[in-house]
């Protein structure tokens, strides 16, 4: 079963690199995931189709609000975000999934 990873950012212009790199990392690792980026306002719309939220560091003030939806959620580590380190971000998402809420 595919797990849905949703990246939450602001304008999203800087997140696209990370999504691509996470997809590559997932392919290498053979992880069954679907990754997408959304703006913060779209969170309520996608809750039903999400397994874990990753939040971009510059909008990390959204964490509490997003965690309130009862799904695993975490802020992406700054350097992983900055360098579009897909492996680190994927690893973070998968361990959040394992821990559950």
């Amino acid at each position: 079963m595919n797990r849905n990873i949703v990246l939450v950012c602001s304008f999203g212009l800087s997140t696209s690199l990370l999504v691509n790199s996470m997809e590559t990392a997932a392919k290498e690792a053979g992880a069954q995931v679907r990754i997408r980026a959304i703006g913060s306002n779209e969170v309520p719309d996608v809750v039903d189709e999400t397994d874990v939220f990753l939040i971009a560091p510059q909008v990390r003030y959204l964490l509490n609000g997003i965690a309130a939806h009862g799904l695993p959620a975490g802020v992406i580590e700054g350097r992983a975000y900055a360098l579009a380190d897909g492996r680190a971000a994927l690893h973070q998402a998968l361990s959040l999934l394992e821990q559950g809420v």
Binding site: F11, L13, I38
Partner: protein, 446 residues
């Protein structure tokens, strides 16, 4: 008769499917139902408040003073109507573009706004000179500008909605838009995707308008007489609008509707797909006349059919329901019971398919005849001035008698509905008896 009906069904079904399933027709119907109808009906309520159905010749007394004040304040009180129903083309334009864009899996709201901006450009004459200088929008009157967003602009508004949606689709398919990487959130990427289509839509509308204004307006170009595209198109199509408001046209329309219903196809749906803009034009002209203190004169509009012809549903089947309720054939009585409440709100599918009337060689005749006679009576009554023409469009579920009063703001509308009901009853009765007899025979034969 049986053969004729089944031949008609075979012939009409594919044609109907083409008209109704056509994506542009669908978008236009959606626009009228989804975006314009609330504005039309709410606008109608404001109209009733601005021009209430008070008896003529009230002088002195409390009611007389109210009446005088209303007449004095009319230009002001018309504003809520003018900015809702009065902008029907504006809302339709949005609705057509939104609906078509959704059909193409694009962002309906954004495309709808783009179509609105484009339509606004079409409502200003471009290239007009005053005292020898080219002028912009400051030289145009608000009146004329908003007029174009009303019934006058309906044709252009529908075309604009279609054109803008198609332009978006074309550019999207060819990749001729500012494409963001897939990971950019939708609200941002859509905003960027709109820029090229919006530029082309508004820009080409401006150039088209410039050409149209300078080509078709009376010369020399002057802000007071220069024409906009909506006005030019309406002038070219005015013969259609005028032709639509005649007795032959009314009879042709009701015949088409009833022929389709005779074979069990939603006739109002099909005919209105084509005729709605014409109806809206006639209705709006009435309101303009009313607002100017004149007598409204345009007869054939949406309420002319929905309120005064389709009493209890298409085919004026309300009297038939009462006959069904008192029938000794239990099958018919049962249909009557199910059909009564919907019929009070002008919904008669239970009658059409329950009796059935559809594809029924005996009842097809009065189904055609009753509305035709009624429409003729109503047209003549309104043409002669016995009954005022409809100026308000109540929701189609407005019960009989109440609907007749609301639509023309006069008790004479209610009386007309009563006459119509009696006539319809007289026409249906013999055929109903014949059918009842036939059913009893069957029942006895079993």
């Amino acid at each position: 008769m049986d053969k004729l009906l089944s031949f008609m069904e075979r012939t009409l079904l594919p044609v109907t499917a083409k008209i109704v399933e056509n994506r542009y027709m669908q978008a236009i119907r959606n626009a009228f139902i989804g975006s314009a109808l609330p504005m039309i009906i709410v606008g109608s309520i404001f109209l009733i408040l601005a021009i209430p159905p008070l008896p003529d010749g009230l002088h002195g007394g409390w009611l007389g003073r109210v009446s005088e004040w209303l007449t004095e304040a009319r230009p002001m009180l018309m504003i809520p109507y003018q900015l809702t129903f009065g902008l029907v083309a504006f809302w339709v334009c949005y609705g057509v573009a939104e609906s078509l864009a959704k059909h193409y899996k694009m962002d309906g709201g954004r495309v709808g706004l783009m179509a609105m901006a484009t339509l606004l450009v079409f409502c200003l004459p471009v290239g007009v000179r005053q005292h020898g200088h080219l002028v912009g929008l400051s030289a145009i009157s608000l009146d004329r500008f908003l007029d174009d967003l009303g019934a006058v602009g309906l044709f252009v508004a529908m075309l604009t909605g279609i054109g803008v949606a198609e332009l978006n689709r074309f550019l999207l398919r060819r990749g001729l838009i500012l494409k963001m990487p897939p990971a950019v959130p939708q609200n941002v990427s859509r905003s960027f995707e709109m820029m090229v289509p919006a530029f082309l839509a508004v820009g080409s509308a401006f150039l088209l308008e410039w050409w149209a204004t300078t080509t078709w307006s009376p010369q020399p170009l002057d802000p007071a007489t220069a024409l906009t595209l909506p006005q030019i198109v309406m002038a070219k199509l005015s013969f259609l609008v005028q032709a639509s408001d005649t007795l032959p046209s009314a009879i042709l329309q009701i015949w088409l509707m009833m022929l389709l219903w005779a074979v069990g196809i939603h006739g109002m749906n099909v005919v209105s797909s084509v005729a709605y803009p014409l109806w809206q034009n006639n209705l709006s002209s009435n309101i303009a006349e009313l607002g100017a203190g004149e007598q409204a004169t345009h007869i054939v509009s949406e309420p002319f059919f929905h309120m005064y012809a389709h009493l209890g549903g298409s085919g004026a089947t309300l009297p038939l329901v009462f006959m069904l309720l008192r029938s000794h054939v239990s099958q018919l009585k049962q249909v009557g019971r199910v059909a009564l409440v919907p019929a009070l709100f002008n919904i008669n599918e239970p009658v059409v398919f329950g009796v059935p009337i559809a594809l029924n060689p005996i009842l097809a005749l009065p189904l055609l005849a009753a509305p035709t006679v009624i429409v003729t009576i109503n047209f003549l009554a309104m043409h002669s001035g016995l009954v005022p023409v409809p100026t308000v469009q109540p929701p189609l579920t407005m019960p009989v008698f109440l609907g007749g009063f609301l639509a023309d703001g006069s008790w004479r509308g209610t009386v007309l509905q009563g006459v119509d009901l009696a006539v319809a009853g007289l026409i249906y009765y013999p055929f109903f008896k014949l059918y009842e007899k036939k059913l009893s025979h069957f029942a006895a034969g079993e």
